[in-house]
Symmetry: C2
Subunit: 351 residues, 2 copies
């Protein structure tokens, strides 16, 4: 069967309205990459995989939910969509809206979005509206305006976003042969952990693939679900999870509880170290994406998780290209050398 995107592949498992008109960029079908060296470093005797969601069409996991949300909106004959975004949702909404011929409005907190992300929304000709406020302010605004006007809200409050995002869990079960023992992932607005947990349960109902423990990981400076209360001014380098008041916080806590898992936090230092470590395995992810694996490492080192004989899948939600600045700002590029073999030999063999 030729692959035609997640709605085409999983339509029977997704609760989408019959009036939906599929708008797809052949999203999903992302690789599950084994990371044996890191597993060995963390004690060995277990299987560690990355589900590399950065290889979706707009470079993040958001495309799975967006194809569903836009397909529903088009079927309803909506003409424009709106979302609040730290960047990934904006790029995805912009791309799928462009494909469907809809106008997309994206609200972003001014100055607090990674450069590589806002660019995607601009490339697809969405109207980018910066606001002098946080992501949470932006989310409140788009909820209000979509309540009042016929503009479809495509944040993960939109239930079809959750339906589509479930498919990441379906694919993992198919790729592993069952649900993994543990599934770790970053938690920002909490739509993704909600979706994965729903997806694992749905797939288990139909295919009896079992259920994983869910390990949700927030950034320490933006960890409302760990602290038990909203964070007024969330701060973290992991811009994709820089959210102080998650729209689906309750469901995230429930997913952790029901799956016998946890929601924890990692410092920015731990997150960036893991980003660098994963790049050494050949997988370059944006900072937020490294949070899941950083949290796993932390839990293993603390003795809270015994990985022995387990299969563990970490969801890496966005590609490293989404946030090039974080790399460039850490790098020191040497001065150019003149064209000549002698000089090149010197550079290469002087190490």
């Amino acid at each position: 069967m030729i692959y035609k995107g997640i709605i085409h592949k999983y339509s029977e498992l997704l609760d989408l309205p019959a009036y939906s008109i599929t708008v797809s960029l052949n999203e999903g079908n992302t690789p599950l990459i084994p990371i044996p060296r890191l597993a060995n470093e963390l004690g060995g005797d277990f299987k560690l995989f990355i589900k590399y969601e950065g290889l979706n069409p707009t470079g993040s996991f958001k495309d799975r939910g967006m194809t569903a949300a836009i397909s529903e909106a088009v079927g309803r004959n909506v003409k424009s969509v709106i979302c609040a975004s730290t960047g990934n949702t904006a790029a995805s909404a912009a791309a799928y809206s462009a494909r469907a011929g809809l106008k997309a409005f994206v609200l972003m907190p001014a100055g607090k979005v990674a450069a590589g992300k806002i660019t995607g929304a601009i490339a697809h000709q969405a109207e980018v509206i910066q606001i002098d406020g946080s992501f949470d302010d932006a989310l409140e605004l788009v909820v209000k305006i979509s309540d009042k006007h016929p503009v479809s809200l495509v944040n993960s409050i939109n239930p079809y976003r959750i339906e589509g995002q479930q498919t990441g869990a379906f694919e993992i079960c198919e790729q592993v042969g069952s649900a993994p023992d543990i599934c770790c992932l970053p938690v920002g607005n909490a739509g993704n952990i909600t979706s994965y947990w729903k997806g694992f349960r749905r797939f288990n109902e139909v295919k009896h693939t079992g259920l994983p423990q869910m390990l949700g990981v927030q950034a320490a400076g933006s960890a409302p679900l760990v602290l038990g209360e909203p964070v007024k001014n969330p701060e973290t380098v992991a811009t994709a999870i820089r959210i102080g008041n998650p729209a689906r916080g309750e469901e995230a806590l429930q997913a952790a509880h029901e799956s016998n898992g946890r929601i924890i936090s990692c410092t920015d230092k731990e997150i960036l170290e893991m980003q660098s470590r994963l790049a050494q395995e050949g997988v370059w992810v944006e900072p937020a994406s490294a949070a899941g694996v950083a949290g796993l490492k932390k839990e293993i080192l603390l003795g809270n998780i015994d990985p022995k004989d387990k299969t563990i899948v970490a969801i890496c939600t966005g590609h490293g290209m989404k946030d090039p600045d974080i790399i460039v700002n850490q790098a020191e590029l040497k001065e150019p050398i003149p064209v000549g073999l002698d000089k090149l030999e010197e550079v290469i063999f002087s190490n």
Copy 2:
């Protein structure tokens, strides 16, 4: 069968040494995206698809050849690799070297590489060496140094790069059900057109899938194969094909000739217009990637190609995130607005 990269899937069709040790990031398996609106604009009555190679692990088509080149190098017990690059090769070499535990050196022409590209190489901790010269100077240098020292050259002069890159053609034949009638793609160092033509022929031998016409497209300011001579100072916004003296120029001309196709050029303006047009279809590619489709449009409008009833596949070689600056520099972002529904309504409904 669980997908495990192009060597695993197509090993029987690839001429790789038995001593190779597979190093993979599950590259390949990229989507073939239908672009019906643009096909209609260009006269209709034909099928147009984009093979979206930007969804390979490092964001470009280079990963297909790199998995093969690095697998061969590791099998030979090489400890370091080198390449000249306008960016995509560097990121790919860096990622696969990191995964294999090899040291990667990448030479880039100073100041002439897209920002999003050099970042990939840095992220994967390659040693980036800028030279005061062109890509062609860099290529000459890496050939010399790898002739003299045990450093494996992983530019597309490396025959295993060509072997691996063929798999793009294999996948297209499988996805379409046969070879397309026309395959259009950008031409820089000419390794890709060489590989695709080889791949279509190879697949046809085994699976009788037929052969396409190859339409290779260079940028007007960097079109040695159209001009019939090397270009000393190539100039184009499409940095990935800014190469004045292609390593596989002869083979590219042969591919065009044998397939009853052509190699033509497009202006930067035509390339950027097509980049923007494809983004409106939901597919954001780097400028060079738009060259193939820009060339197709040109040939159709000139009457050189009659698309009627044909199946046409355009290879889009790299993701738009590879070159965010080209978008950012064209964009005018409006001033942030204060948090408030009135102001947001004004912005949205004043259009």
